[in-house]
C-alpha cells in the first residue's frame, strides 16, 4: 500500500480549497461578531499537534481570525447548542459551522425542540471529508486517512443553511468500507455476530465518550445513570456494557444523523456506528425514513401508519 499513490484528489489537486473555506469562515465570523449579529461563533481552531483542530467557542472578531477549516475538523459542533452544554454559550443567537453530517444532527435537534432555527445562523461547509480516528495525518487527507463515514457520505453539499461556504472539489469514488463491513456481519450466523459484538463490547470501559459527544444524548438524566430503578447495570462489566450499547443504539434509532462521532471518540475503537447504520437501514427499509438536513416534525418511531409492516408479528 503506497499512501502517496492513494492520496485522494481533494487534497492533492485542490490545495486552495481548505484555505478558501477558512478565509470565507473568518470573513463571515468577523462580520457577524463585529455587527453583533451573533453572540458567538462555534467553529474550529487549530490544535497544537500536527493535523489536529479543536472546537472553538469564539466570541470576539479577533478570535474569529483564528478559525480554520481542515480535514482535522472532525467534531460535530451541534453538541454545543444542546442542553448537555447549557451555560457554556451566552444567551443569544449563535453562528455554527456545520458539515453535512452535522447539519442532519442540527435538523434532528430542531425536530426535537432542542434548537430553534431562529436562534442559530448556520454556516454550512461543502465538505470533502475529514480524518478518521487514529489516522496518520501527516500526509493530508488520503484514502488511508479519511474517516470511514466520509467514504460513503451523501451529504457533502449542505442544504438549507444561512451561508454556504466552499466549492466542492471533484470527489473520487471510494469503496464503501462500512457498508461492506455491515454486509459481512449480516452474513454471519447469530452466534458469530454475538461473538463479534461480545468481543467489541468487552473492551468498553464505560467512559461514556460515545454518549457525551452525541448531539442527541442531551438528556439531563441518562437512563444508564438511573438507579431507581436501575434499567441497566452501571458497572463497566460485559453484561452492563452490552446492555448499554443496545439501549444506546435503540434510543438513537430514528434520530441519529450519522455523524459517527460516537465511533470516532471511542478510545477502545468499538465500531459503534455500525449499530447506528444498521438501525438506519432498517428504518429506511421499513418506513422509508432517512435522517435529513431539513427538520422533520416526527421521526419514524414517533409516528406510525396503519398498514406498517407486521410480518414479524403472529
Amino acid at each position: 500500500m503506497n499512501a502517496k499513490a492513494e492520496k485522494i484528489r481533494v487534497a492533492s489537486i485542490d490545495p486552495s480549497y481548505y484555505q478558501a473555506v477558512t478565509d470565507a469562515i473568518r470573513t463571515e465570523a468577523v462580520k457577524l461578531l463585529s455587527e453583533e449579529a451573533v453572540v458567538a461563533v462555534v467553529g474550529y481552531l487549530p490544535g497544537r499537534r500536527i493535523g489536529t483542530a479543536v472546537p472553538g467557542l469564539v466570541t470576539t472578531p479577533e478570535q474569529a481570525q483564528q478559525l480554520i477549516f481542515s480535514p482535522a475538523c472532525v467534531n460535530n459542533l451541534s453538541l454545543y447548542l444542546t442542553k448537555a452544554k447549557k451555560g457554556v454559550l451566552k444567551k443569544g443567537k449563535v453562528a455554527i459551522i456545520a458539515k453535512g453530517c452535522d447539519l442532519r444532527a442540527l435538523a434532528g435537534l430542531m425536530g426535537e425542540s432542542q434548537v430553534k432555527k431562529e436562534d442559530i445562523y448556520t454556516i454550512g461547509i461543502a465538505c470533502a471529508g475529514v480524518f478518521g480516528a487514529n489516522s496518520d495525518r501527516k500526509g493530508g487527507l488520503t484514502e488511508a486517512s479519511i474517516a470511514r463515514k466520509c467514504r460513503e457520505c451523501t451529504v457533502h453539499q449542505p442544504e438549507g443553511v444561512d451561508l454556504l461556504v466552499g466549492t466542492l472539489p471533484e470527489l473520487p469514488q471510494l469503496t464503501a468500507l462500512e457498508a461492506q463491513e455491515l454486509a459481512r456481519l449480516e452474513a454471519l450466523t447469530p452466534e458469530e455476530r454475538w461473538a463479534y459484538w461480545k468481543e467489541q463490547f468487552s473492551k468498553c470501559i464505560r467512559c461514556l465518550a460515545c454518549r457525551q459527544v452525541c448531539p442527541f444524548c442531551y438528556c439531563e438524566q441518562c437512563l444508564c445513570d438511573k438507579n431507581r430503578p436501575q434499567a441497566l447495570e452501571s458497572s463497566p462489566r460485559p453484561a452492563g456494557n452490552t446492555a448499554w450499547h443496545i439501549v444506546r443504539a435503540m434510543h438513537l434509532a430514528g434520530r441519529c444523523g450519522g455523524c459517527a462521532e460516537c465511533e470516532r471518540v471511542c478510545p477502545m475503537d468499538i465500531p459503534l456506528n455500525l449499530l447506528n447504520r444498521r438501525m438506519a437501514m432498517e428504518l429506511k427499509e421499513l418506513y422509508d425514513y432517512e435522517a435529513s438536513m431539513v427538520p422533520q416534525e416526527k421521526g419514524p418511531l414517533t409516528r406510525y401508519q396503519e398498514d406498517d409492516d407486521q410480518s414479524f408479528i403472529k
Partner: protein, 665 residues
C-alpha cells in the same frame, strides 16, 4: 421493609384442585417484605374479605396481594375491601392463579410452582406500588354542538331540555342541514319539512340554546369539562338584532339570477338571501361574492329599503370565546360528485357517465328538490335540460359507494331506501312514467324498511335490474343507459329521459381540519372515529367529545336521531356531577429531568401532553417541559416507553414496579 399480606384463595376447588395453596401461602411467607400470608376457601366471600380487612389491621399491613382469579373478575372487590381496611386501594393487587394457572395446567407440581412465581412477581409489584388518589376535574355545564342538522338539533334540544346551556354552531346561514332539503322521508313518506321545521324553531326559541349560524369553529383548547372554544361568526352584512325578517331587501335586490345552493343550483336566489323560506334564523345574509355593492361599490338598494336599518356593509367577522364542558360533533355529510377529480385525489369521478356534463343525469338530492313542493319546480318532476316531464327514468344505486376503483369501498347505507322512495314519488307524480333501478343489492334492514322496498317493486311498478351501469351518453334528447342484468345475464340498454344517481355519502369538506382542531381521530375517508366500534360508538377517544350523525359514517335519520340522543345522554351523564372523577392511572412528568424533546407529545393518542414553560422567580425562561393533563390522559403509557430518559411515568405501571417484577423472574 414492606409489610405485605398475601392471601391465597382456593376458589372452592377451582384453584386448590391443581395448586397446593397451602404451599403457595407458606412460600409467600418467606418472601422478604411479606408480613402475613394465609390461604382461604373463598377470598371473595364476605368472610374472605373480612379476613383480609382483619389481617390488614392486625398486622399493620402496607400492601395486599390476593392470589385468586383474574383481576378482571375481582380487582374492584378486593380494592374496595382494602380501602375499607384503611389501605389505599391501589396498594391492593391480584395474582391470577386461576385463569392463568390452575385452569390451564394439570400437573400439580408445575402449577404450584407457577402460582408461587406469580405471587413472587406480584409481591414485588405491590412493594413498589404507590398510593394513588382519584383525579377530580371541574366540569363546565355547558355543551357545544357543532352542526345544525337533524343530529345537532336533536342533541341540542335534549341537552337544553335537561336544563343545561347549549351553544350551537352552524356553518350555513340557516340550521336544518340536509334533512330540510328532503322532499319526503322513508319509510313513512311524511313530509320532511313538516317534521323538521318545528324542531328548528324550537332551537331558535329555546332559552337554553345560544345559536350561532354562519359561524365556524376557529380554535378548541382545553379538555373534558374545561374546553375553551373560539367561534368565528362570519360577517353576515345584516345586523341580526335589528332585522325583522320582512324580506323587502330580497324582493328589491337587483341581482336575482344566482343559482340557489339549497335547490342544488336549480332554483334562483338574490344576492341578499335566506337559503329557504323556513330558514332559522330568518335573517338574510349577503353573498358578498355575488353582490354588486361588494364587487363594484355601486348599488346599496337593500340598505336603502331596509326599514330598521339592519343592512351593514361594514360588518366584520367576530370571534366569540365560549367555555364549554362537552362537545357534540354533528357536522353531517356531503354527497359524492361524479365530476372529474384532481390527479392526486384518492377519489375518482365517473368518466363513463360523462363526468357530470350531461344535464339530465342528476343526483338523489337534486331529485329531492325536484320532488319537493317548495322546490324550483313546485313539486313537479321536470327534467333540468328542457323542463319536460320525463317518461322513462333510470335510477342507479351505488354510484361511488362500494366502488373500490373509485376510491370508496364502504356502503352509503341510505341509498337503497331513498331510491325506492324516489321511484314511488316519481310514480305518484308521473302516472304514465316508468322507473328503472340498477342495483347491486337491496339492503333494507330497519323497521318497516323491507316492506317499504317491496311496495316500491311490487305495487309501485319500479323495474329493478340487478347489475351496474357501464356507460351513459346523450343521444338526441335521450340518455342512453348501457348496463347489464346479471340475473338474466343479458346486456340492457335503456333510452332514458332522466337519470338519478344515488351517489355516495362522504364526510363534509373540511372534516379533517375540524378534527385536527378538536384533537379527535378520523378514518381515511375523513369520517370521525368513535372510541370503540362496539362499546363506545358515541364517544370519541378524546374525552368529553361525542359524535352524532353522519359525520361518523353514513346514517339514516332514525339512526342519526338515536345517536344524537345518545350523545346528549352522555353529555348529561358528564354534567350530572360537579366534578369529574377519573382513574388515577395517568402519566406524570418529572419536570426536573424532562428536557422537552416532546417525543411523548408526538406519540400521545389523546393529545394529553402540552408544553409547559418553567420560569425562575425573575420570570426568565428556564426550560420548556412536557406536561400531561391528567384530565385527558388515557393511561396507555406509550409516552413512557418512548421517553429516552423516562422522565414521564405512568402511575400504577411504573418502571420501578416492572423492573422489580422482571428482577424477580
Amino acid at each position: 421493609m414492606s409489610r405485605i399480606g398475601v392471601f391465597v384463595c382456593h376458589c372452592g376447588e377451582n384453584i386448590s384442585r391443581t395448586v397446593d395453596v397451602e404451599r403457595v401461602a407458606k412460600e409467600a411467607g418467606d418472601i422478604p417484605g411479606v408480613a402475613f400470608s394465609c390461604d382461604y376457601k373463598y377470598m371473595c366471600s364476605d368472610p374472605g374479605q373480612n379476613l383480609l380487612k382483619k389481617a390488614v389491621a392486625d398486622n399493620n399491613l402496607d400492601g395486599v396481594l390476593v392470589a385468586a382469579c383474574s383481576p378482571r373478575m375481582h380487582e374492584k372487590t378486593f380494592r374496595k375491601a382494602a380501602s375499607a381496611a384503611g389501605l389505599n386501594p391501589y396498594l391492593c393487587e391480584m395474582g391470577n392463579i386461576r385463569e392463568h394457572c390452575s385452569w390451564v395446567h394439570e400437573d400439580r407440581e408445575e402449577a404450584t410452582a407457577k402460582a408461587s412465581d406469580i405471587v413472587k412477581l406480584m409481591v414485588e409489584r405491590v412493594k413498589k406500588g404507590k398510593s394513588l388518589a382519584p383525579i377530580t376535574v371541574p366540569v363546565t355545564k355547558k355543551a357545544l354542538v357543532i352542526g345544525g342538522g337533524i343530529a345537532g338539533i336533536q342533541a341540542a334540544l335534549d341537552i337544553a331540555d335537561a336544563g343545561h346551556q347549549v351553544v350551537m354552531v352552524e356553518r350555513e346561514p340557516s340550521i336544518g342541514g340536509h334533512m330540510a332539503q328532503l322532499s319526503e322521508t322513508f319509510p313513512t313518506l311524511d313530509c320532511s319539512q313538516c317534521i323538521m321545521t318545528p324542531k328548528m324553531v324550537d332551537v331558535a326559541n329555546h332559552p337554553n340554546i345560544t345559536l350561532y349560524t354562519f359561524a365556524e369553529i376557529e380554535k378548541v383548547e382545553g379538555y373534558i369539562g374545561n374546553f375553551q372554544v373560539t367561534v368565528r361568526k362570519k360577517a353576515r352584512s345584516v345586523d341580526e338584532s335589528k332585522c325583522t325578517g320582512c324580506g323587502v331587501c330580497m324582493t328589491k335586490c337587483p341581482k336575482k339570477k344566482i343559482p340557489n345552493e339549497f335547490d342544488q343550483g336549480h332554483g334562483m336566489r338574490t344576492a341578499i338571501y335566506v337559503p329557504f323560506p323556513q330558514a332559522v334564523p330568518n335573517t338574510p345574509v349577503i353573498d358578498r361574492q355575488n353582490c354588486t355593492m361588494f364587487q363594484s361599490g355601486k348599488c346599496g338598494v337593500c340598505q336603502k329599503v331596509c326599514g330598521p336599518g339592519a343592512v351593514d356593509f361594514e360588518q366584520q367577522d367576530t370571534l366569540i370565546v365560549e367555555p364549554v364542558g362537552a362537545i357534540v360533533v354533528a357536522t353531517g355529510f356531503k354527497l359524492y360528485s361524479i365530476e372529474r377529480q384532481p390527479e392526486d385525489s384518492p377519489i375518482q369521478g365517473y368518466g363513463e357517465f360523462g363526468y357530470g356534463t350531461i344535464p339530465d343525469i342528476i343526483d338523489g338530492m337534486t331529485f329531492e328538490r325536484l320532488a319537493s313542493a317548495s322546490g324550483p319546480t313546485g313539486g313537479k318532476i321536470l327534467r333540468p335540460s328542457d323542463g319536460k316531464e320525463p317518461k322513462q327514468v333510470v335510477f342507479i344505486q351505488c354510484v361511488g359507494s362500494r366502488a373500490r376503483e373509485k376510491g370508496i369501498s364502504y356502503c352509503s347505507k341510505v341509498c337503497c331506501m331513498y331510491t325506492a322512495k324516489h321511484t314511488m314519488l316519481y310514480h305518484h307524480k308521473v302516472h304514465d312514467g316508468q322507473a328503472y333501478v340498477f342495483y347491486m343489492d337491496a339492503r333494507t334492514p330497519g323497521k318497516g324498511y323491507d316492506e317499504f322496498w317491496r311496495r316500491a317493486v311490487e305495487e309501485e311498478e319500479a323495474v329493478y335490474i340487478r347489475g351496474m351501469v357501464s356507460r351513459m351518453y346523450q343521444r338526441g334528447d335521450k340518455i342512453v343507459v348501457m348496463g347489464s342484468d346479471t340475473l338474466v345475464g343479458v346486456q340492457v340498454e335503456i333510452e332514458a329521459d332522466l337519470v338519478v344517481m344515488a351517489t355516495a355519502v362522504q364526510a363534509q369538506d373540511g372534516a379533517d381540519l375540524l378534527a385536527q382542531k378538536l384533537g379527535i381521530s378520523y378514518d381515511k375517508y375523513n369520517f370521525y372515529s368513535e372510541a370503540h366500534a362496539k362499546l363506545k360508538p358515541v364517544e370519541c377517544a378524546t374525552a368529553g367529545i361525542y359524535l352524532a350523525g353522519a359525520c361518523q359514517g353514513p346514517k339514516d335519520i332514525p339512526d342519526t336521531v338515536s345517536q344524537a340522543s345518545a350523545a346528549a345522554a352522555k353529555v348529561m351523564t358528564l354534567f350530572a356531577k360537579d366534578q369529574l372523577e377519573r382513574d388515577p392511572v395517568v402519566a406524570k412528568v418529572n419536570e426536573k429531568y424532562c428536557v422537552g424533546c416532546l417525543a411523548c407529545k408526538k406519540v400521545c393518542p389523546y393529545g394529553a401532553v402540552e408544553e409547559r414553560e418553567i420560569r425562575d422567580r425573575q420570570g426568565n425562561l428556564v426550560k420548556v417541559v412536557a406536561s400531561v393533563n391528567p384530565g385527558v390522559c388515557g393511561g396507555c403509557g406509550t409516552c413512557q416507553a418512548t421517553c429516552p430518559s423516562k422522565s414521564v411515568e405512568l402511575d400504577g405501571y411504573t418502571d420501578e414496579q416492572i423492573m422489580a417484577m422482571i428482577e424477580a423472574l
